[in-house]
Structure formats: structure tokens, C-alpha cells
């Protein structure tokens, strides 16, 4: 049983004991068509009755949500970069120049964030040096006043519903469970707020609600799915950046989309989480990104922690034997 739980198959629902499950469902979030409208954040909050998580201006971009958490199950990231978008020249006249946030603003926000969000401001996300053109000549600022290229990356983040889900593996109460659709859901009447899943998640998704004590995260709208409806965020997305459907179809569709983007000169387009052989066995919610995953706040190469658990148990056992032997030796070696 342990072996199956740790390794799993490519299809988690039958592995979790559903004899004839429906097809595995998931999200494909195509960030190349995301317009950052946050309709997904709002729809998710409304449908799932998620409490307000504070109105704060983070001062880092148009993203004032910050990251996923107990009260944020969809999160739209905004990234501003000094790079062109595809073949476009975006450095239009009359655009302001200079950094997107002033130094006092950044300082104030950093102080306000503190350790509460476990975050530290100040690292740059974008490419600061202009990358050379294809002919090898250095790329020049596109206008005389030093205005540079510009692109905005927007991406709607969500729980990944991993094939090998660390949160589910480590949950000591069985509150987290695998649904027949292959998704991972918290049973709130079971969760006792032990908090083990929070640092176990390699994506930093699941979190404890402070005034409630239990953990919360995206359910992929389990209630809507069970009725054949698509999740609220996908329903609300006006550009179909968020697509819901059977995972195998989504993967096929995503592969086509990446190929088309490459043809259009967007060489940076890549899929994230679509590979069933990655460290979490592929994710049920995967993404098309236009830059490296860490730029969006994703881990570049996540591995489910329980993959190393057999080694941990082995060392725990050896260590326990060593402790017992040391205690025994202490009595044998001690003279009165």
C-alpha cells in the first residue's frame, strides 16, 4: 500500500480506490492570453464563499493579492519586464519611464509585509539587461529618453492538484482526500489544523486560516464538477485563459498551443506541470508560461517530499537502533 501511495500511477483516482472513476479533470491555464482582469479571483471568492483577505496595496505591481493562501484560491500574478512581447514594439510614447514603484513605497510595503507573508521584497523579477538581438548586436533602448521595451506577463495561479500530492500524503487525519476526478480536496469537518500540509506543499498553495484554524485551498469546485458544471474561475474567464476539461485533452490542446506560439516567434513559451514524469507526476492544473517558472513564483523543479520518505524511514529506523545501542553501551560501559 505504501508503495502505491508513494509512487502512484499516472492516473491517481483508480489508485485511490475508485474502481471505475470518471475521466481525470483539470485546468489548463494559458497565460499567453491572460489579460489580468481577476475575474477568476472574484468568481472563486463568490462561488466558494471565501472570506475577505484584507485590502492591501503591495506596491510591487498591479498584483495586490500577493500569493495563494487560505482565502485566495486563484491568484493573478503581474510581472513587468523590459522585454518585447513577441514581435511587438511596446515602448509607446507618453508611457512613464523609471521603475514601477518608488523607493519609499517599496520600503513601506516591505515593512508592512514583514514576516507575516513570509516574503521579502526587493529581488528583481524581470530581465534587467536588454538581451541582444538575433543578429548579435546589443539591443538599444527604443527611444531617446531611455524608454525600454516592455511586456507584462499575467498568470492566474491555482492549486496544482498534483498526481503525487504531498499535502494528501502527509495529512494525519485523512481530511485531505483524492476525489473520483483525480483532484485533491480538504474535508473541513475533519481537518484539525495540524498544519503539516502547509510546509509540505512544494508550491506553497494550501494555508491555514488564522481565525479558523483549519486549512483551505482550491477544490477545483468539486461541488460544481459533481454536477457536470465547469469550475467558477474557468466559467468567468473572458479570454479562456483558464480552460477546464479532461486532462488528456487539455494536454493535447496545450501542446498545439505551444507549437503555434513557437511558430509565431514566442520562443519562450513553455508548458509547466504537463509532464507526467516530473517530480510530482504531472499536475492536474498546468500552465503555459512565457518565462521561467520562478518568475511567476512557481518552483522550477518541484519534487513531492514523500518521494524521499522511504529513505527517511530507513534512516529513522537505523538511528533508533543506534540510540538503543548507545543506551545499552552506556550501561555496559559505566563503572559504579
Amino acid at each position: 500500500m505504501t508503495e502505491k501511495l508513494l509512487e502512484g500511477t499516472k492516473d491517481p483516482a483508480p489508485d485511490s480506490g475508485y474502481p471505475q472513476p470518471p475521466r481525470r479533470m483539470g485546468f489548463f491555464t494559458d497565460t499567453s492570453v491572460c489579460i489580468g482582469c481577476k475575474a477568476c479571483e472574484v468568481a472563486c471568492k463568490e462561488w466558494n464563499l471565501i472570506p475577505d483577505d484584507g485590502f492591501s496595496l503591495l506596491g510591487m505591481s498591479y498584483d495586490n493579492t500577493g500569493m495563494l493562501g487560505a482565502d485566495t484560491w486563484r491568484h493573478v500574478a503581474f510581472i513587468e519586464q523590459d522585454r518585447p512581447l513577441g514581435r511587438q514594439n511596446n515602448a509607446v510614447a507618453l508611457m512613464p519611464t523609471g521603475p514601477s514603484a518608488s523607493a519609499p513605497n517599496a520600503l513601506m510595503v516591505a515593512a508592512g509585509l514583514g514576516e507575516e507573508h513570509g516574503a521579502r521584497l526587493g529581488t528583481e523579477t524581470g530581465a534587467i539587461q536588454l538581451e541582444p538581438n538575433t543578429d548579435g548586436k546589443p539591443r538599444q533602448p527604443v527611444s531617446a529618453d531611455g524608454r525600454t521595451e516592455l511586456r507584462w506577463l499575467m498568470a492566474s495561479d491555482v492549486c496544482k492538484h498534483c498526481t503525487h500530492a504531498a499535502c494528501l500524503d502527509v495529512c494525519p487525519t485523512g481530511s485531505l482526500f483524492r476525489t473520483e476526478f483525480g483532484t485533491v480536496v480538504v474535508q473541513e469537518d475533519i481537518c484539525n489544523g495540524c498544519g503539516y500540509c502547509v510546509p509540505a506543499c512544494p508550491y506553497g498553495v494550501i494555508d491555514q486560516r488564522k481565525d479558523d484554524g483549519r486549512v483551505w485551498k482550491c477544490t477545483l469546485c468539486y461541488d460544481r464538477m459533481s454536477d457536470g458544471q465547469e469550475p467558477a474561475c474557468a466559467k468567468a474567464c473572458p479570454t479562456e485563459s483558464i480552460q477546464y476539461g479532461p486532462l488528456d485533452e487539455l494536454r493535447e490542446r496545450a501542446a498545439h498551443r505551444v507549437a503555434r506560439l513557437h511558430d509565431a516567434g514566442v520562443a519562450d513559451a513553455r508548458l509547466y506541470g504537463a509532464d507526467p514524469d516530473d517530480g510530482v507526476g504531472g499536475t492536474g492544473a498546468f500552465f503555459l508560461l512565457l518565462d521561467k517558472p520562478e518568475v511567476y513564483g512557481f518552483p522550477p523543479d518541484p519534487v513531492v517530499t514523500t518521494r524521499d520518505l522511504p529513505a527517511m524511514w530507513r534512516h529513522t529506523l537505523f538511528a533508533a537502533v543506534a540510540v538503543a545501542a548507545t543506551a545499552l553501551a552506556a550501561f555496559a560501559g559505566a563503572r559504579r
Binding site: T123, A166, T305, L309, A322, F331
Partner: protein, 347 residues
């Protein structure tokens, strides 16, 4: 021709096979520049993040509860071993001290573990399942077996305060209970390494090979120290020895972790965790020296001072590693850089 026919945007997820999706809005396709396919220059491995925000969530555990438990659980397990040894080798003073220490540490452990839950009244939900994939679940069952045994053994030391029939029963059960507790006691001292290593926290997960040994050794140092400090000097020799060996071994494993983790070990040396671990090393030196001196002279004063120093060493180690883990989770650097290197090595 309608837009839908032109772009196929009516095509939804049903029946879509080997067909491009409906969204033909290719970014940048209206631009005038030549295609630069494959012309992107791959920058050298560098650290980038989303506005410096953490990738993973730092633990929500409170340090005084969970780091406190890492220490107390070690004391409980180590002292149970020393109590059984003292019982079998005819050291009543040491047996009494060790049993009382073990039971008190166990009681405190259960208390802090329950208090750290978001819903303490649901602590019993831990008993719904037995999950080998969750060290917390296994630990719950280990503690569940261990606690009543050390409690009965400790009651055996307090029979004077009990009604006579209860005292008779406890007197009968104390030794078998104390001996049975040794079946789980060693695992109680080491599983906490797997408990915190089985997370995405960089410092904890990367040291998953060494942590069970470090925590087990540290538990022997703490239990040996506390039992030595509360035992008549002529009986304390095995506790002194266990404490000294545990302390030395803990320092060895601590060094091994620092060496092997490379850049990820930074949180262990800087800031509060660094201060705690440096203090722990001084306590280790002082404690082992004092107990070694006492092994020659059988001095009660040296025993108390050295024993408390070793207990402090263990507590400082556990709190140091706890805070280092939290610091490594809060800084995206420790999550991103090792993974970026791994990803690029795999390509």
C-alpha cells in the same frame, strides 16, 4: 463569414482532436519585427523570483510548541531508555529520576502538540487513520503506545501517594511497563527528524538523511544530562556516558549537515538560528567537559551544571533547526536555486 467560423472559436473541449484550439490571438503577431525563432539567448543560471516572495509557505507551527516538542519528545524517549536500564541494573535513584522526567516530558509533549492544533478539540481526529506516508500519523501512534507505559512506570515511583490497592497494582505493572516502553522509545527520539524533513522546507528536507541521527543523538544528550542532574552522583555513571556520547554525536551530525547542504545551509549559520546553534555548541563543550570531570570525581555540583548544559544544548539545537527551516522557507532563494540547478543539470 462570422468570426466564429473564421477562427473556430466555437470549438470547445468536446470533439477537439488534432485541431488547434479556438484562441488564435497569437501575442505579438501584429508586430512588425522579423520572427526571432530560436534566437533567444539563454541567460546564465541566475536567481529570479516573483518580487522576492516566498515560493513555499513557511510552517504555521509555533516555535515554542513544535520546536519545544522536538526537544521534549527526545527527553521523553531518552529518559525512558535510561529508566529501564537503571531498573535492570539496580539503580533506584536513577530509575526514579528518569521515570519521572520521561513521564513529565511526555505529558508536556502531548500538551504542546494539542495546543498547536488549529482545532485542539479535534486532536482525536489523528486516530482516524494510520498513514505510513505521514510521519505525524505514525508519531501519533508511537506516542499513543508510549504515553500510558511511561505514565504507569512513573506512577510506580509515586506509590506512597496512591491508595493501597492502586499502589499494589502499579507496583506490579511498573517494571513491565517501563521495559515495554523501550520498544518505542528509540523511535520516539528519531522519528521527529523524518517529521520535519518530510516537507518542502529546504533546510529540513535537504538534511533528511542526517536529521533522524542528529535528533536521536541530541535526545540522548538531553535525557542523559537531565537524568544526571537529578540522580545521586554514585548512580549516575550510565547517564553521564549517554549524555557525553549523545552530545559528541550530535555535534558530528550537525557538522555533517552544514557540509553537505552547501548554500542551503546558510540559514543555519546566519541570524537567530545561527546564534542558537553557536550557543548550542558552547553548551556542548561545557557540558561534556563538566560531566567528564564529574565522572572522575563523582561531584553532584558538576553533575547538575554539566547535565543542565547538555539539556540546553539539545534545546538550542532543536530551536535552531526549527528557525533555520522557517527562514529557508521564507526566502525563495533556497527553494529556487537548487531546483534551477537540478533542472539545468537534467537538460
Amino acid at each position: 463569414m462570422s468570426a466564429a467560423q473564421e477562427t473556430g472559436s466555437e470549438v470547445r473541449r468536446d470533439g477537439l482532436h488534432h485541431v488547434a484550439p479556438g484562441r488564435e490571438a497569437l501575442i505579438g503577431s501584429r508586430g512588425g519585427r522579423r520572427p526571432s525563432r530560436g534566437g533567444e539567448v539563454v541567460p546564465p543560471a541566475e536567481f529570479r523570483s516573483y518580487y522576492g516572495r516566498a515560493v513555499i509557505k513557511p510552517p504555521v507551527w509555533k516555535a515554542h510548541n513544535i520546536a519545544g516538542y522536538l526537544f521534549l519528545g527526545g527527553v521523553a524517549g531518552g529518559a525512558a531508555l535510561l529508566a529501564a536500564g537503571a531498573d535492570l541494573t539496580g539503580r533506584p535513584g536513577m530509575r526514579r529520576a528518569a521515570r519521572l522526567i520521561s513521564a513529565s516530558a511526555t505529558g508536556l509533549s502531548l500538551s504542546v502538540l494539542t495546543r498547536d492544533l488549529g482545532r485542539p478539540e479535534r486532536a482525536v481526529h489523528m486516530l482516524r487513520v494510520v498513514k505510513p506516508t505521514s510521519p505525524m500519523s505514525i508519531g501519533t501512534w508511537l506516542l499513543g503506545g508510549f504515553s500510558p507505559l511511561v505514565a504507569v512506570a512513573a506512577l510506580g515511583e509515586m506509590s506512597a501517594a496512591l491508595p493501597r490497592r492502586a499502589a499494589d497494582l502499579v507496583g506490579l505493572l511498573a517494571r513491565p511497563s517501563g521495559l515495554a516502553a523501550t520498544a518505542v522509545a528509540p523511535a520516539i527520539t528519531t522519528y521527529t527528524g523524518a517529521l520535519i524533513a518530510n516537507t518542502a522546507v529546504p533546510v529540513w528536507h535537504e538534511s533528511h538523511r542526517e536529521l533522524p541521527y542528529l535528533f536521536g543523538a541530541s535526545a540522548l544528550a538531553a535525557a542523559g544530562g537531565l537524568v544526571t542532574a537529578t540522580t545521586p552522583a554514585r548512580e549516575a555513571a550510565p547517564a553521564r556516558l549517554a549524555g557525553i556520547v549523545g552530545s559528541v554525536a550530535a555535534q558530528v551530525f550537525d557538522r555533517a549537515i552544514h557540509r553537505r547542504l552547501g548554500m542551503v545551509a546558510e540559514p543555519l549559520t546566519g541570524g537567530r538560528p545561527g546564534r542558537l546553534l553557536r550557543a548550542s555548541r558552547w553548551c556542548a563543550r561545557a557540558g561534556t567537559a563538566l560531566l567528564a570531570a564529574s565522572a572522575m570525581r563523582h561531584s553532584r555540583a558538576l553533575d547538575v551544571a554539566g547535565g543542565l548544559a547538555l539539556a540546553a544544548e539539545s534545546a538550542l539545537t532543536k530551536f535552531g533547526y526549527f528557525h533555520a527551516g522557517t527562514a529557508s522557507a521564507a526566502d525563495p532563494k533556497y527553494t529556487v536555486l537548487p531546483q534551477r540547478e537540478r533542472a539545468e543539470a537534467a537538460q
